[in-house]
């Protein structure tokens, strides 16, 4: 019981810190002129079909909102998402912090893309471990 309360508060703090770091870095790089658009991440419900055993209840979605100024094409949104899920440590952190869905959308269009994060983590090999002799 005691341990559960401690771990719950610890997880909440870790998620909030990760989100804060993300948003601060996005803002800094945008202000510095390194990237042309402002991005903001927030927690959403996520997709129930993408849930895994460590998903946070009703808070499994990691949504990236891109302030693009125009409707972005599917390819542009896909490219942003690919850069996030292409980073192995990033995906591991997202999954371990209870997120199961990555969502990318812009502020002007009507299209958003989502990825199931579990598919992009390195899991055990498909063959079983040989028995010990």
């Amino acid at each position: 019981m005691w341990e559960n309360i401690r771990s719950w508060f610890s997880d909440i703090r870790e998620r909030a810190r990760f989100l804060r770091d993300w948003n601060r870095n996005a803002k800094d790089t945008y202000v510095a002129g390194i990237i042309p658009v402002l991005m903001e991440a927030k927690i959403t419900v996520g997709c129930t079909d993408f849930r895994h055993q460590f998903s946070r209840w009703m808070a499994g979605g990691f949504r990236v909102k891109v302030l693009s100024g125009r409707a972005m094409t599917r390819e542009e949104l896909y490219e942003i998402g690919q850069f996030i899920i292409g980073d192995d440590i990033m995906v591991r952190k997202l999954v371990s912090n209870g997120w199961d869905t990555l969502e990318v959308h812009d502020t002007a269009g009507f299209v958003g893309l989502k990825w199931q994060l579990r598919n992009y983590t390195i899991s055990l090999p498909s063959y079983p471990t040989p028995p010990r002799s």
């Binding site: 996005a26 800094d28 790089t29 390194i34 990237i35 490219e79 850069f83 440590i89």
Partner: protein, 134 residues
């Protein structure tokens, strides 16, 4: 008259010295002591035990270079395309040493095509070892 009667009854009633709240406070104290013991006991390690949490502590605290990732999102493709053409091994047909270096750099480039910081390192190595100007 009535007040006098009440005063007499109050004098005759037995005075209880036992306070039941003492039991409650003792129980609370015991719970606190047990929880404290459990908390400190968990941190004591036996010689042949180890905690996975400690071994992966460095990995857990590893900071992701988010600014590099954001930079890569929008600028990596341009640099990747430029590097891909410049360090292609076919550009050095007569120099075996440079072909070897170019092969190695191309492999690294393909592995890190989403990482602009790594690609800048590759660019610096290409300038140094292959004599390419960008």
């Amino acid at each position: 008259m009535y007040y006098l009667l009440v005063a007499e009854v109050a004098k005759k009633a037995p005075v209880s010295t036992f306070n039941p709240w003492i039991l409650v406070s003792i129980a609370e104290f015991l719970i606190i002591v047990i929880l404290t013991i459990l908390l400190f006991k968990k941190n004591q390690k036996k010689p042949d035990e180890f905690y996975v949490g400690e071994s992966i502590k460095g990995y857990k605290d590893a900071e992701i270079d988010l600014s590099n990732m954001f930079n890569s999102m929008f600028n990596a493709t341009i640099l990747h395309d430029a590097l891909k053409k410049k360090i292609h091994p076919d550009r050095f047909p007569n120099d075996k040493e440079k072909i070897k270096v170019a092969n190695e750099l191309t492999t690294q480039l393909n592995e890190n095509k989403n990482n602009i910081a790594k690609m800048k390192e590759i660019q610096a190595m290409a300038t140094e070892k292959l004599g390419i100007t960008f």
